[in-house]
């Protein structure tokens, strides 16, 4: 009857699909999973507290918000937009493609701290990619604007995920090494990181092509099919 432990997965899928408050869905799913796994109520609540505290590091990104708010108040977005409008060859896709390359390369030499959603995307990359389209096509409809912003966030994720795995001291490389060590297979980190390179190249091509297709889509949408 251990299939019952999957109840939490079901609650999450149904809850997210029905757009119930995500915090409530996840909490209920956690409690239900604990009950199905025969944990005591005390153990379930303690586990919530322990994991929540242990993962506080994820919340530290919010520390940047007062600074980013001040920057926006002082006109950072407006300045980034003015600058990008002056570069005539700049398009949304090209701006994002350049950021993808930089993000992947810097992450692959261990500099994943050089990017990030709150640090780079919200104050700089998102307004620049939006401005590149606005400079060409004028004011954008909300739907298009949201699509461009979502692409800006996605580029940061894709770049860091498939860049940092090439870096030897990265958590994922060390996790792979540690787990195989525990099973009597001994490899060097270099040996593991090497095999992350083909995928890193592949994702740059795949996502890069998609960014250029985004440019084409914008061009068609706003210039009535002319190129």
């Amino acid at each position: 009857m251990h299939l019952l432990t999957l109840i939490g997965v079901l609650i999450v899928i149904v809850g997210f699909a029905l757009r119930v408050n995500a915090l409530l869905v996840v909490t209920v799913a956690g409690i239900a999973t604990g009950v199905a796994g025969h944990l005591s109520p005390y153990a379930i609540v303690s586990e919530f507290g322990r994991a929540f505290t242990q993962n506080r590091y994820v919340g530290l990104v919010w520390l940047t918000l007062p600074v980013i708010g001040l920057l926006e108040r002082a006109g950072l977005k407006e300045r980034a937009q003015e600058l990008i409008a002056r570069v005539h060859s700049a398009t949304t896709g090209r701006v994002l493609l350049l950021y993808l390359a930089i993000r992947q390369l810097t992450a692959s030499i261990g500099l994943s701290a050089l990017g990030g959603q709150a640090q780079m995307v919200r104050p700089l990359i998102a307004p620049m990619s939006e401005a590149a389209a606005e400079a060409r096509y004028g004011k954008l409809p909300d739907k298009t604007r949201h699509l461009i912003l979502a692409h800006a966030a996605a580029v940061d994720n894709v770049g860091v995920f498939f860049g940092e795995d090439i870096f030897l001291a990265m958590g994922s490389v060390l996790l792979i090494k540690g787990f195989l060590d525990g099973n009597g297979i001994h490899l060097t980190p270099l040996h593991i990181a090497l095999w992350a390179i083909p995928t890193a190249v592949a994702v740059f091509i795949i996502h890069g092509v998609r960014l250029l297709l985004l440019d084409r889509r914008l061009r068609r949408q706003f210039k009535g099919g002319q190129s």
Binding site: V9, G34, R56, G59, L60, A74, P123, N157, L180, L194
Partner: protein, 318 residues
Amino acid sequence: MIRLEYVYFLGGLLFCSVGLLEFLDAANPQRLRKTVFWVIYGITFLFGTLLPPFVTGCLVILMVLVTGWKDLSRSKVDTAPELQRRQSAGRLKEKLFIPALCIPGVTFLGTLLLPKISMAGQPLALAKDATLVSLGLSVLVALAAALWLFRQRFPTSLHEGRRLLTAVGTVAVLPQLLAALGALFADAGVGKVVSEGVTHFIPGDARFLVILAFTVGMALFTMIMGNAFAAFPVMVAGIGLPLIVHKLGGDPAVMGAVGMLSGYCGTLMTPMAANFNIVPAALLELPDKNGVVKVQVPTGLILLAVNTLLMYVLVFRF
């Protein structure tokens, strides 16, 4: 030594201040519930290591309950009007980028240098904490630079912090709650059920099918757990080592590396990886919480197919 706990303390102060500002705004709907929410979040940062896990757990559940069935409404917080921002941008020009670049710049330098510099026989920060400690420092440096260069007062930064944090909303705490869910999944043995389910379906000697089950299994399980690191040990113990490496003689380095990256394809495609997918959507104020996931799905799927082929071609060759 700068302990990581100091940085958490800074976070706690920020969240409590936001709670206080929510309370002081008389026109704010649901202001009591919002205050309770942010102050509890602040308390978990201020006293997280002092409180017993059970007490923190109760606080967290209370914090979730005040958000209600439909989530809290959005607070209206104003910033400078557009005209004023344009004038300010024209006046400050490239100076605007100095504080913006302080954050990644100081974080990077600190990560590199803090563990190497010793004071009274101790490093300034432990190597494992260096990035987060440096992030905390970088924020203080950037804040000082911004206040000085833009001639702003400190309370304005808290006001702006409240504007952005309440724009993100209660989703801000979702990644930590999902980590708790992941821990409960692990305690209840969800991983075992999933890996048994996957291994049940595959014939043990059809090379391509075994590889396909492994890469797709990594991606799917990562989508459920929201984290490839949680999926990896389960799938490698279930399929990777016994079938691909031991039975079929595949290379363990290729299996491990490409397997992990197949998990990352799953990370791109799931709302469960909230800090990468849901939080940025909130941060960019997208109306669709899944807007970022939707953009990432095509890349995730194509790359998963490429990874499967890569592993099939490479794993038996080396």
